[in-house]
Amino acid sequence: MQFASRLPKPVGIFDYMTLVNEQRMHNINGGTPLYTEEDFEAYRNGTKIAANWQDAIIRKSAPFTQHDISATGGTDRSSYFISLGYTSQDAFFKSDDVDYKRYNIRSNVSSKITDDLTFDLNLNAIMDRKNQPYISPWYVFRSLWYQPPIQNIYANNNPEYFNNVPSNLNGVAHASSDVNGYMIQTNKWFQSSASLTYQLPLEGLSLKGLYSYDFNDNNNKVYMKSYNLYNYDASTDTYNPVPQQTPSTIRRDYAEFPATLLQASLNYNRSFANKHNLTALLLYERGVRSGDNFFAQRELALPVDQLLAGISTNQQGGTNAGNLYKTINASWVGRLAYDFKGKYLAEFSFREDGSSKFAPEQQWGFFPAGFLAWRISEESFFKNSNALSFINSLKFRGSYGEMGDENASNYQFVSGYTYPVSGNATSLPGGSVFDGVFVNGAQGKGLANPLLSWYKSKMFNVGMDLQAWRGLLGLTVEYFDRERTGLLATRALTLPEEVGVGLPQENLNGDRARGFEFEITHDNHIGSFNYNVRGVFGYTRTMNTTQVSARAGNSYLNWNNSNYTQDRWNNIYWGYGSPGQFQSYNDIANNPFFVPRNTVVGDYIYEDWNGDGQISTQDNHPIAMAGLPLVTYGFTLGGSYKGIDLNMTWSGAGKVYVSYFEQLNTPLWAGGGALEQFMDRWHPADPTADPYDPNTAWVPGNYAYTGTIPYTNTLANASNAAYLRLKTVELGYTLSKKFFKGNGLKGLRLYANGYNPITFTKLKYLDPEHPSSQFGYLYPIDVKLTFGLNIQF
């Protein structure tokens, strides 16, 4: 079973009308409420019926099932692992038109052909399928939250006719495939690898060849079905259709992404005199990745949702240029590792990487790495010291390495023309129409940079591992620093516009990420109760080390904009400080700096940070952290007593702030509805009282009075989304062996699993991991409860 975690709810009719009236009263020049007592009474006594969009669209819970079967086995010459899995997940829509299914099979076989020659074959296939209405789920939430309860779902409340609500956002029609069509996305993955390992006559030396072929395809079918919304004309008692998304259109997309990898390696692994351990590897690999795709689209005359039923007028076909590619990578890899009795460890490795994404002279990059470690606990002085005997193992380690990255490159070294130019039919098309025929255009690519090459990461890492009191304490401390150079950027010194072309990208910029991780473990048992605890804590920060750009207009702007700064930690949330809300008109009257005339009690106070007596963009300063959580932590608790086991994983994040837009920021946004959270607001105790009368009594709340919208970049709008949540909890019971005598069963376990069941956070009304992209309308985070049975034969 799945439940939505902290899904916002739209307000009911009375709250809606109250908020609208407040918004209207919130007028310094004198406001009048829109809805009168009669309007309220009409809904109270049932003369008028309000719509409940939430209940019409969303259900409380949705089913979720998962089944797996697996088997392992073999003889001394061969071994196998096979498995079969199935997952099915539905969504919270009453229409039940959003669901996801996934099937996978896996077969790994290893066989010794001769004593020296081993053959391995691994096959894995996955298929998944996602069904949804043509209108995306996030858009359904947008429609759902937008329509106030005063708008009926059906025109004249007649269920035959969907109401043409403002902006055509009828969420009930949007949530149903029967109404607006569907989108089916099917993905298949096939991964295979075959390898031969030959043990050479020299002890410890082996030769391995591997070939793998992976294949992924996407097969989508999109049916945009036209449907009608209706305007009810009371003067003639007619329903006037307003057609939506016409004409009905069917579209098929197909894309395939094959990839091959060839590897040949020579391995050497041997110990000498039980002291000197040596491993060496030399490997060559060559991989080819490619993508190809096409689509076809036709309009439909009859409601037959097949491409073959399409009409020939306006039919379209084409290829998405972004997924049409072929790249080749090749690498030489070498590694040499040596340790002395496991006490002193040293390793050196290198990669020589080549990529077809660069000009021939720039294709190859050399990236070495080294590692040193000292297990001090193996030293005799350490072993012989009684004072240190509680320590079972202590190791210090450090490493340095370089890595290359080709991903940002997209053939900027090639000059020439992009053909065909991608265009947009309604704005700048990709060509011109000559004599009634559309002709694809060829656009010059501008200046090329044949010198473009790999960008380079330098990674430095030191750490310590400790085990003490036989598992009662385990400790790992690690510090890391990653510095990247050669990130692509365009020179600050740009060409005059009159040259008509810009400079190409070069390997110019750099950045750094630095942080530490800390892990502590504890294993113990009390009688037959075994338990373990593990905690981790991580902290990461990033900065730009080199950032080419022109200076901004003044020093303040320069400081304010991270595009212009280097050697400063990133993730700064810029905005206005907000020390709170005005508690009374006395506060407003005595405010040390200017506030607008229409300020009311409960409005957000902004910080006059530069002290110039007014709030302006120059009061922008760092107010919080932005972006990914900087601090992450978590711990797991596990325990077992006889057949019962309990495992919990907690995870948390700190120094993270979220802010939202549109309807998650503004009640009655764009003339729409409001979410229930906005009822927690400052408002006059008597809704008919003039909010600008200093004698009006106010009820305090979390948000300001309806009609006051916080500036987007303020603490008033950003919320601390630090959280600690129980990510998973599982309680299991394993039946003891004596139950299964003679019936072939080997084990049986019952379990109950919870995913995201408990969350502690200061954030109100929303899930702390609820994303703020797509205006915050994304599908909610799940809470899952699973009950399961695990049988072994």
């Binding site: 090749a330 129409v433 060409l495 008509g500 003339g671």
Partner: protein, 634 residues
């Protein structure tokens, strides 16, 4: 054995490294040889530069620029119309980087094509070189109209063999200073003359021939002549006069314009396929067809569209509300003003020449229907805009501001005082804020919606219900045969007529009038009269015998070329846009139904405060993009 295996291994490695050419070029990039070795390649190059040529077509907006998904109407800032979504256009009209990018592409073509000339006939090579010179001229025309003198770049500034380092070291050489406005106009004239000499007599629709170049020359030189004559601003940088041309050059430029226009005589003609001298209905229909008949002999240069690759949304944005297509609240963006309507012939007028809707006692005249007022209107007016109650797509376009519920027996007095911009009156009036209306019961018991199906609704907000806001709707260019299901933002395909013969006639008329007023002879004036009468005859208006005032020609131009995105630049080159528009309140005509009389009357109102055209502070030049200034000043 051991040696054998090692040998095998080494040879395998050698084999692998031997094929180490990581050669996988991008799959949709082609080279000069692919472009310049075939006519198809050249056509692909042309398809690109024609697509970005600065044509102010259906997809142009002063605020969003060229080739934009536009909501709103350019006519909304010229006084021709009011448009909910056309905001204050001050400080917009920007066009710079894209212009110099296109100029570079033209220069590149001119410099590279000669290397491949052996592949083609001499005619073809001349044709294509003429085309890119034409496009370069059009680009400079767009720049000089906006900024006055701009840097003239007549060749490629970077060499294909230069490395990035070389280019950045020679940065100072790449800074080209602004030339004087006069030099830019001369440069445009030179390019257009080159194009005229090299281009062929005819071309396919959408591409240019020599007469297109001549037509543009007449347009450009008329502009330059107007600047020489009417501009009074002097703005110089060093010895270069960036704004304005010496008045002594006016005659030269007007003559160039006049002469260029004469080159098209006999090659094109006014569209009169379904015209009749005696039938006003035929004149009306003929004028509508002028903009929709692809085979019109009046079309000199058009930009074509073709679904699904290159379309516009003019129908969706401009149809009256009641004919709105699916997929959103798009319609009625261009609402002609009463000020515009009053320029036309055939309307009842008061002593001041304004339209008359009240009788001698000041009472509203009552009509059976709203079209009665326009029964004698000039056919061109009916064909240019949809009058309230006129027919479009077989439907009566229902535009009504409200129902007057008061007594009508003694006549209806003026509802609001003259010049008032107060909120809509409510006494004795029912109106509707939204398209979902509450019907009003008429004295005979039947029901009627307060507002018409196409407005006017009292909620004028941009995200409001839409509908007409002036009592009128635009008709020019609307496709009367487009099914409502296709009245969407990506289905319109009618061509944009960038240059038609009527404009050339008006260019010659204006240049001729200016020349005669500058003492160049009466024959110029005679041409002006003849040309204006040709336009007026086709429009169904009376003919004139003399021209005593330049405004006669200007007004004719504003009527004939209305909603064709030309008026704004005319107002600028005449240097009158500031006087005409500062703090101006345009007027609208509001049809009312008088319930107790079962008649209509029409009320003249001022624009509501929220729709007032904002002050345009500087009537001469577009504000130069400041961030570019530093880079341009050498």
């Amino acid at each position: 054995m051991k040696n054998y295996i090692l040998g095998l291994l080494l040879s395998a490695l050698c084999y692998l490294s031997a094929c180490e050419k990581l050669d996988a070029p991008p799959l949709n990039v082609i080279q000069d040889r692919d472009i310049f070795n075939s006519e198809a390649g050249i056509t692909a190059y042309m398809a690109r530069i024609y697509s970005v040529m600065p044509i102010e077509d259906f997809k142009y907006s002063p605020t969003l620029g060229f080739n934009a998904f536009v909501i709103g109407s350019f006519a909304g800032i010229t006084g021709e119309a009011l448009s909910r979504d056309m905001g204050n256009a001050n400080g917009s009209f920007g066009y710079w980087s894209a212009a110099y990018n296109l100029i570079r592409e033209c220069n590149y073509f001119s410099e590279v094509l000669p290397d491949y000339a052996g592949n083609f006939t001499e005619e073809k090579v001349k044709y294509w070189l003429g085309e890119v010179r034409f496009i370069r001229a059009v680009t400079y025309l767009a720049l000089v109209k906006r900024y006055g003198g701009v840097p003239i770049v007549d060749q490629l500034l970077t060499d294909p063999d230069q490395s990035i380092g070389d280019i950045t070291e020679s940065l100072e050489e790449l800074k080209i200073p602004r030339s004087s406005e006069e030099k830019v106009w001369d440069f445009i004239a030179e390019d257009l003359k080159y194009a005229y000499e090299n281009l062929p007599e005819t071309s396919v629709a959408g591409r240019v021939n020599r007469y297109v170049a001549a037509g543009f020359l007449s347009r450009a030189m008329l502009y330059a002549g107007s600047i020489a004559k009417y501009n009074s601003i002097e703005l110089t940088a060093g010895s270069e006069r960036l704004c304005g041309i010496p008045a002594s050059k006016a005659v030269t430029y007007f003559k160039e314009s006049y002469d260029a226009a004469q080159l098209l005589n006999g090659k094109y003609s006014l569209y009169k396929k379904s015209w009749s001298a005696t039938d006003k209905e035929a004149q009306y229909q003929n004028y509508i067809n002028t903009f929709l008949d692809a085979s019109s002999p009046e079309n000199i240069f058009v930009r074509q569209y073709k679904y699904p690759d290159a379309v516009h949304g003019y129908d969706a944005l401009s149809v009256p509300k009641q004919l709105e297509g699916p997929g959103g609240n798009y319609s009625s963006e261009t609402n002609p003003t009463l000020d515009f309507v009053e320029m036309f012939e055939g309307l009842p007028r008061d002593a001041n020449g304004a339209i008359r809707t009240r009788d001698a006692d000041g009472k509203y005249i009552l009509y059976d229907n709203t079209m009665s007022l326009f029964s004698n209107a000039e056919p061109r007016l009916r064909a240019t805009i949809i009058l309230p109650g006129d027919v479009f797509k077989g439907q009566v376009i229902d535009i009504r501001r409200g129902i007057y519920t008061g007594e009508t027996a003694g006549g209806i007095n003026k509802l609001i005082p003259p010049g008032s911009t107060i909120n809509y009156p409510t006494t004795n009036i029912v109106s509707s804020a939204s398209a979902l209306q509450t019907p009003y019961q008429l004295p005979d018991g039947s029901m009627m919606n307060p507002a018409g199906l196409s407005g006017v609704f009292t909620n004028l907000a941009a995200n409001g219900p839409g509908g007409s806001i002036t009592g009128f709707s635009v008709r020019k260019y609307l496709n009367p045969n487009k099914p409502t299901a296709e009245v969407v933002t990506n289905r319109s395909e009618q061509s944009w007529i960038e240059l038609r013969y009527a404009e050339v006639l008006l260019n010659a008329a204006e240049a001729g009038y200016e020349l005669s007023s500058l003492g160049q002879g009466a024959s110029y004036l005679q041409t002006a009269i003849t040309n204006v009468n040709m336009i007026r005859e086709r429009a169904g208006a009376s003919s004139i015998t003399s021209i005593n005032d330049v405004d006669v020609i200007r007004e004719e131009r504003r009527k004939e070329l209305a909603f064709e995105h030309k008026v704004y630049w005319d107002l600028k080159r005449w240097r009158i846009i500031d006087q005409e528009q500062n703090a101006r309140l345009y007027r609208v005509l509001m049809p009312f139904y008088a319930a107790k009389a079962d008649k209509y009357f029409l009320m003249i109102e001022q624009t509501k405060e929220m729709l007032v055209l904002r002050l345009i502070q500087d009537g001469t030049m577009i504000k130069f993009p400041l961030q570019l200034l530093a880079k341009t000043q050498a």
